[in-house]
Symmetry: D4
Subunit: 253 residues, 8 copies
Amino acid sequence: MNEKSLRDLLIRIKHDEISVDAGLDKLKDLPFEDLGFAKIDHHRQLRQGFPEVIYCAGKTTEQIVTIVEKLAEGADNNILATRASYEVYEAVAARIPDVEYYDSARLIVIRRGEQEKRGHILVVSAGTSDIPVAEEAAITAEVMGNRVERLYDTGVAGIHRLLCQTDKLLAARVIIVVAGMEGALVSVVGGLVDKPVIAVPTSVGYGASFGGLAALLAMLNSCSSGVSVVNIDNGFGAGYQASLINKLGEAGI
Amino acid sequence: MNEKSLRDLLIRIKHDEISVDAGLDKLKDLPFEDLGFAKIDHHRQLRQGFPEVIYCAGKTTEQIVTIVEKLAEGADNNILATRASYEVYEAVAARIPDVEYYDSARLIVIRRGEQEKRGHILVVSAGTSDIPVAEEAAITAEVMGNRVERLYDTGVAGIHRLLCQTDKLLAARVIIVVAGMEGALVSVVGGLVDKPVIAVPTSVGYGASFGGLAALLAMLNSCSSGVSVVNIDNGFGAGYQASLINKLGEAGI
Amino acid sequence: MNEKSLRDLLIRIKHDEISVDAGLDKLKDLPFEDLGFAKIDHHRQLRQGFPEVIYCAGKTTEQIVTIVEKLAEGADNNILATRASYEVYEAVAARIPDVEYYDSARLIVIRRGEQEKRGHILVVSAGTSDIPVAEEAAITAEVMGNRVERLYDTGVAGIHRLLCQTDKLLAARVIIVVAGMEGALVSVVGGLVDKPVIAVPTSVGYGASFGGLAALLAMLNSCSSGVSVVNIDNGFGAGYQASLINKLGEAGI
Amino acid sequence: MNEKSLRDLLIRIKHDEISVDAGLDKLKDLPFEDLGFAKIDHHRQLRQGFPEVIYCAGKTTEQIVTIVEKLAEGADNNILATRASYEVYEAVAARIPDVEYYDSARLIVIRRGEQEKRGHILVVSAGTSDIPVAEEAAITAEVMGNRVERLYDTGVAGIHRLLCQTDKLLAARVIIVVAGMEGALVSVVGGLVDKPVIAVPTSVGYGASFGGLAALLAMLNSCSSGVSVVNIDNGFGAGYQASLINKLGEAGI
Amino acid sequence: MNEKSLRDLLIRIKHDEISVDAGLDKLKDLPFEDLGFAKIDHHRQLRQGFPEVIYCAGKTTEQIVTIVEKLAEGADNNILATRASYEVYEAVAARIPDVEYYDSARLIVIRRGEQEKRGHILVVSAGTSDIPVAEEAAITAEVMGNRVERLYDTGVAGIHRLLCQTDKLLAARVIIVVAGMEGALVSVVGGLVDKPVIAVPTSVGYGASFGGLAALLAMLNSCSSGVSVVNIDNGFGAGYQASLINKLGEAGI
Amino acid sequence: MNEKSLRDLLIRIKHDEISVDAGLDKLKDLPFEDLGFAKIDHHRQLRQGFPEVIYCAGKTTEQIVTIVEKLAEGADNNILATRASYEVYEAVAARIPDVEYYDSARLIVIRRGEQEKRGHILVVSAGTSDIPVAEEAAITAEVMGNRVERLYDTGVAGIHRLLCQTDKLLAARVIIVVAGMEGALVSVVGGLVDKPVIAVPTSVGYGASFGGLAALLAMLNSCSSGVSVVNIDNGFGAGYQASLINKLGEAGI
Amino acid sequence: MNEKSLRDLLIRIKHDEISVDAGLDKLKDLPFEDLGFAKIDHHRQLRQGFPEVIYCAGKTTEQIVTIVEKLAEGADNNILATRASYEVYEAVAARIPDVEYYDSARLIVIRRGEQEKRGHILVVSAGTSDIPVAEEAAITAEVMGNRVERLYDTGVAGIHRLLCQTDKLLAARVIIVVAGMEGALVSVVGGLVDKPVIAVPTSVGYGASFGGLAALLAMLNSCSSGVSVVNIDNGFGAGYQASLINKLGEAGI
Amino acid sequence: MNEKSLRDLLIRIKHDEISVDAGLDKLKDLPFEDLGFAKIDHHRQLRQGFPEVIYCAGKTTEQIVTIVEKLAEGADNNILATRASYEVYEAVAARIPDVEYYDSARLIVIRRGEQEKRGHILVVSAGTSDIPVAEEAAITAEVMGNRVERLYDTGVAGIHRLLCQTDKLLAARVIIVVAGMEGALVSVVGGLVDKPVIAVPTSVGYGASFGGLAALLAMLNSCSSGVSVVNIDNGFGAGYQASLINKLGEAGI
């Protein structure tokens, strides 16, 4: 309901093309669907370029299945549900065709829009144990229509594994760096490239890692410029933002 | 020293165009200047598109002035020093011509490259008290060659001040949101746009703000997608990353 | 045992209507019942307008059942037990008739007083995952004799879902806002209304949510005036205080 | 701009009483005044019953004076500025007549509306050192048109000082309890009354008080029902919410 | 091995009553028994008046049983093991006669010394959920030869339950106060008595209780004098120290 | 106002020895003096054996002087004010004779009661930097009528300094251990003695000492039994409790 | 690829002993093996004197088995995997001969190099519950070719158990001290010896131990010089560093 | 007082070479000097190879000067005082000849023993702002008789500054890495060398650095093996431990 559509609406009211009450309804009736326990934001694809993503944690299976069904009705865009258990996947798959499940990333994907692959996002991870979060980021970006490269297990304890592949770092438009423990990889990568770096701290570690706090603080204090940070284990958020950035480069928007 | 230049170097050694020792020197002699207390990274502009930025906190005035002088020698790029006191500015200005000082943002700027203004970054701040950090972000981005718009004092306690200007939000390529206290502005802006949002928590607040921790945690947990976060009061870091992103859109890189 | 009843007692002693020892007993014999492991505060209904509520966590099933039975003896007020498992409910229901169980809110309710429905409390929740805590608040308030409206899944990521229903916000006497993650909804609601807002942070979230700490700190630092906060996941506490406030409006006390 | 006024506007457009463009302007032109560094929310008094309150921390004296002047132009409501130094007060008083300053509470008050004193809020403080915060709460409530009683230095180390005055506790419509250190006073008061209690933790204390964290956590975990909490040292916030609650009782709203 | 016994030893060496090597052995051979995984401190009863107490958490059942057996050999003092599961109790009871198990307090007790009951320690608890920790304190003190009184479920939400029993508070030589949530009971009791109060915070609570941190900080910041604090849930430590204090009063040591 | 005096009062009312209103007054008129900003608890000496101690932090000099004057009127007990600056001392000394000031301990003492020196408390400190807190404890105990021994700078980095003086440890009735940094001294002392140990963490240290948090946590987790803990830098609290304990031993109470 | 081998390579290229492309490959082809989910750092043994150690937490069993197999191919060095469950051990043992499992330390060891036992590291632990971490340290050091002595259950609550064995402390080249709770043992040992001490805080404890935080902070603040600290429960890290230090003493490197 | 000297003493007593009382004195009279406020540990040089180091923070100038004088009497070893202000230096220099002051490192040094320079410790720092802490480490090690190399301003934001000097890293026996902000340099260095690395987090940074906590946690969680950590800003502690380690290599101890 931007300025132009508001103007159009007022003109149509003035011209009696629609009644005042109908205009009022339109102004009040914003495009979401109320299920009681959830208000599905059908407007989000228009507003943000991608439909609402379902965060499954804390929702009942029944709630999730209902929301997915509503989103999938006549959808021409891919649908994504995060932090989904296998049990939730099975319940969804029993009601909707062609549902995919990514086990380590705990993602449910329903592909409805075959978007042109765009650009090139690089997902770098520090250790093998960080892969589930890295995959959450990578698949999220792919589902949103981006080409994604992966460079895994390149932690700074053996930094030559990273340095011999700086060409891969330099080739990407956006880089997501996923690391637990002390998260030092972010600063090293950030110092080598001239593209935005999105850092994802993971909860990999123990003791004074405090569930990822150590990596989070380290990344927020990175001495390398051009780095920003998302929540601990939030591969989804990194993939989402990387997609928004990659689109800018795609179109020269 | 990328693959191509390495290949060229090897070919020149093979063809006796340069001696083995000279080649060895080139391979060892990476482009930084060692002042003892600092190693100036002259290579950074090539590698990252902007020269090394001087973080003044914890450095002596003498050290800062020396580093600035070295960076300014024959520079064709703007030079930036952050967290600089007025005293430091005076010491620099006594040795180098045409130095500017931005008081609330505590920035020293030396304009040496008149870059074409590019693109359009929007800096939104929640309250008047957040302006110093917002200005640090805005001026950093401007110094790096970007066009910057400002939208200040739009906190969610009077959300109509923001909502009536959503056209400004939608017009930007990248948005920096600066907010202290509970940082709620980030989530509201993040939910309205389809562009990347960089969140800057500030230390504005008291008590359970814990020096900006409340805003930082809130922003990291934003329910809006497309948001990433930099350190508390790190206006510089947000401006820097926004510049990198804006350039992608500029050139369709 | 307020000033008036104390005066009455003294006068009756003076007039020999009751003996010194009986007076002494009255003064000593405050109205609670000692079960050894618990001292049931039968006086609370007189003092605070609602009988003691049983916090089940950490109590054995046997202890809970005994306390409920004592409270239910001849009660003419509703009885409430919080944080109750289904097993506890079954044990209570085996001994007392007409016990209700609210699954997601983990509440046991025994309706003994059919109070007139009073006033109007609005419970707003940010996401579907916050509903259990919101329901704990809503049912608590209902059991205490209030009319309760609900407005669920109105998080700020899709703020139009909230803004198109500001009439509902404005119609309530007290508003309870339940939100996890960054808790931004509280500040938005607080800025739109002129009624007291009680904020309930929830533990919905992960990583740097730190079990609800992020939402708690955000709410304590809300830039909107008129907001106060209860403990993380304390739907009961919010419902209880909202009921006290709502009663003020009811009677013009 | 509520539903009724929106309907009126549409009818007037329909009837050609105002043009489409003028209607558009009205819809866009929300009532705030843009000073660049601040957007004064003149609408707030209509929306929330009291004009915008100026939080002085982090603002320059010049900014504060300008905002106060704008708010004071033709005001018929009291004006309040919090966390104001004496220097700021002097600068304001040099430009505006009849400005009052409350030293320990650090409040600037400009009385423009002589509101009828309403109701009765009780402010209880634990120790003498807590008085500045208690006064911030009390004066805020008075400025907003409430009658306020005070009961100071009634900490639980000498609980008879409180217990002998329970009649004062029972007489109030809302109670604000201000306490530092361990904040136990809140739970004692909360257990004695049937009215809402707003708890204000203060930073009074040392060592493991951690700047008021101990009192804050204690109050959030109060075993007494009917208690909610505001930020550390936030006397203003407590006074503001108490005023909203007291008004409900006043009018039987 | 105090000064007197050292002097005796030297004199005996001088007088050839024992050889230098035997003297050396005595000086080296301090009274503990080395089991490899544990060094049983048989000297502790002499040094501290009670034998080593076994902390079972983190030890294997086999280790615990072996240590208990060694301590029980010819013991004429009671033996205590804390944080013991029922499984550990069963394993101990299978090897040693007359072992008792206290379920809620998770204590194993082997009574070998029938000490005269001494003095009078009062254990006060705030809520029914705090009883397991209170019992750990009470039984520890009893096993160490003290008379113990209990006053349970006297939380400040219904403070008359405590105030009507101040005679019990005043009669004790030492008072242990066990409370979770906000721990306010400690300050109230501390303000009423002239005897030392040992405060035990418990992990009873949720959300911003942070596992007992809220109660711990509150107790450390108590405004009442005469209070000291032990670790969260450390009923054993409180019972132990109370016993040491009670003995002082017993003997007028 | 205990049971006996209450019974007496009732009998006197019954016998018309005092009127109902006078009785009412007696019941209401508890023994404190209300100065508005403070309620002086004259009853405390009766209730707790020592008059109210003035915590100076956060109070104005005027308030402190007034309270001291009230307490000193006809006092026959020593008077103590803690956390007092030299300026406060001067203001007090200008109005009251024979005031002493202890600089490093920041204590004001007015000696009015020459109590018999009792018993023997030992104050042990780890380092020279801990002496101010140790002196606060020692002087507090002395002012309350105890004999105090000192053993300073006996940190575990040179543990022979402590071990060669175990006779001093064993001779005391109560031991106060004052230590900053890692606070290890407490556990060593606690393992050597059979008397209660009161641990005082200090804020001596830097970095990860976090203002005394490291020592506080260490002391709470001491592996030695018989240890309890007071707030960081709370020498007063330790001296106070030690005095209560020492009195038990004095009289064989 | 150090300076010497680089010079050799360049000379061979110059002399046409290898082609430019082959030289380029050598420069690019650093010695790791890419398995996709992991990049095995075969170079690490050359660089750091011991092959890559596998951190099993967060890796799938399949991933671990594959990595172990790759490392074991033709290995002439021992292989170590930490934080391994028994299930992982069984899966490894099913594919590779002569695999050992250390249950309490959760280590998998494959002995392939029979290194001469070197030097002498002493592992001291405070309590029996700390043994698993102590064993992780001890076995790690043994597997890396060191002689290791153990001194267990020597906590400061019975400090004579330690003091009578100072000869063992003085005999070692490096000392690892493993302690939970308050970690005081580190400072005592550190004050007795003139060799480096590596402190390992453990998560043994409860309540305000906060998962080992108390011991960690205590050790970082040790008043004894010569102490450094590794992560909570990081026996492996301590054993590894102790081995590096011990080698220095071995060879007089 | 080790086993051998104890045996000698006993033999001499047996042979009447010294009296029992004299022997007793020797056993009691351990070598420290008691100044009341401090117990100077003259034994430390024998026990730990270097005399007691004076930590100046929290001590009065008078105390420091007295301790230094006592240590300097007839000393044949260098004397070190840390965290010393210039004022303290002046007071010391007024009483003792040949005192040096290191400004940025805040160290006082009195050279009394000209020890042979031994070995080779490398101090690496991340940024220019970290130099004061790095110098504290370097000078401490030098004063203790070690040869020290420095490599400053080699932060990972320009990692080529470090990588081109790996020969310097490989040449050292021990490496101290000093870094603030995110401390990533430690992990990079740790992964390149086969020598022990001592990490020193600094408080350089702001916001979520939390006074060095971010760097501390990062270093404790380093993915590189062979790293241990000292307290924030504890250059002294790192220099001290590095000296102990370097001596092992020196002598092949």
